[in-house]
Symmetry: C2
Subunit: 210 residues, 2 copies
């Protein structure tokens, strides 16, 4: 699935050559963008990690998506409603590519190399995104906190080709990502340890069975 294409190198070569595209850097905790209706921004995370965060009217915070290298985000993928605020927050120093989508798959009038390479690679990047989203839905539809945790751990374990793996999120963020109460999640985590299903030291976790 992964062609090994390196957007990062590509961008550093070409980003200045296309006037429709902006490249910006952000430091940790800075807000990269807010989703607003009527705009059609497409962003690519070139380096660093960031979260798409929603704050609802009750003040609940949800990590809607967690982004790392090569992730796509922006209003293009979203029907933005006015009911809640969607922000992308940098979790570490980030480089992000912005552009406004008219017809994403149509080439730039300038016929520039940048757009050519981008449109060749977009379908694959988007397909990865779809897979990612489906995985997330699979987690969210699990009925109990325990199953959500185990589902998530099992995924990380598979990706890491190892029963041990590192948590890429803080526990606070993990709760927001799995859309459960943090204290309830902590309680369940404790039970999983007590039942010998997982072992945890620091942010390393070992999944014993399943």
């Amino acid at each position: 699935m992964n062609t090994g294409f390196n957007l990062e190198n590509f961008i550093s070569d070409f980003s200045t050559k296309c006037n429709k595209v902006q490249s910006k850097t952000f430091t940790k905790n800075e807000i990269i963008t807010t989703y607003i209706q009527k705009r059609n921004q497409l962003c690519i995370l070139i380096s660093g990690t960031a979260d798409l965060v929603r704050y609802d009217l009750n003040g609940n915070r949800t990590i809607v998506e967690h982004f790392s290298k090569n992730a796509l985000f922006g209003e293009v993928f979203y029907n933005v409603t006015t009911n809640n605020e969607l922000l992308v927050e940098a979790k570490s120093n980030c480089t992000v590519l912005f552009y406004i989508y008219d017809d994403m798959f149509q080439e730039c009038k300038n016929n520039c190399k940048f757009h050519q390479v981008l449109s060749e690679n977009l379908p694959e990047l988007i397909l990865n995104k779809v897979t990612e989203l489906n995985m997330r839905i699979e987690l969210l539809t699990k009925r109990s906190t325990r199953d959500k945790l185990l589902g998530y751990f099992s995924l990380l374990s598979t990706r890491n080709l190892n029963t041990s793996f590192e948590l890429p999120l803080s526990l606070t963020d993990l709760a927001d990502y799995l859309s459960v109460d943090r204290s309830a999640m902590m309680r369940e985590l404790k039970l999983l340890k007590e039942d010998g299903i997982i072992e945890k030291s620091g942010n390393m976790i070992r999944l014993n069975r399943n």
Copy 2:
């Protein structure tokens, strides 16, 4: 976003002309496909409606996605795990296009018109799918059954450009789609009616305030 391109007409013209593609019809409740690892099937729903359904080890049924005209599905979008079974079930009579993806965005060796048109349209179809999935995640991350119901109703209301709209799913299926217990959902639905927030007659619903 919607180009108005009519796949249905296109398929009836061209489907027989490409040997890598199969078109099949299904009657209600038939199983269209099961997701299996190692295959890379891409399917397009040409007409009818269908559900992607997951049965987990506890016997819980979840409607992972609900498909209508022009929906894309298949293993291409999924990291299939062995933990649970994923089936696509026809909810009405359906016509479905199947093909095995090698490189979806590469043209057929035969250089056939079919693949050309398909690859021109796939990015847009996939983009719609991403929007759909994000919407679903938004619903699933809501913390209470009430918020899930209201979020879903609000969406249907917006789509229908009207405070009144028809439920496209049975209540049983809606519970599976929102990933909540049916009886709990019924209880909440009753409360929403009592609070005057919604009115319901048959499968028509009116949303009184947001």
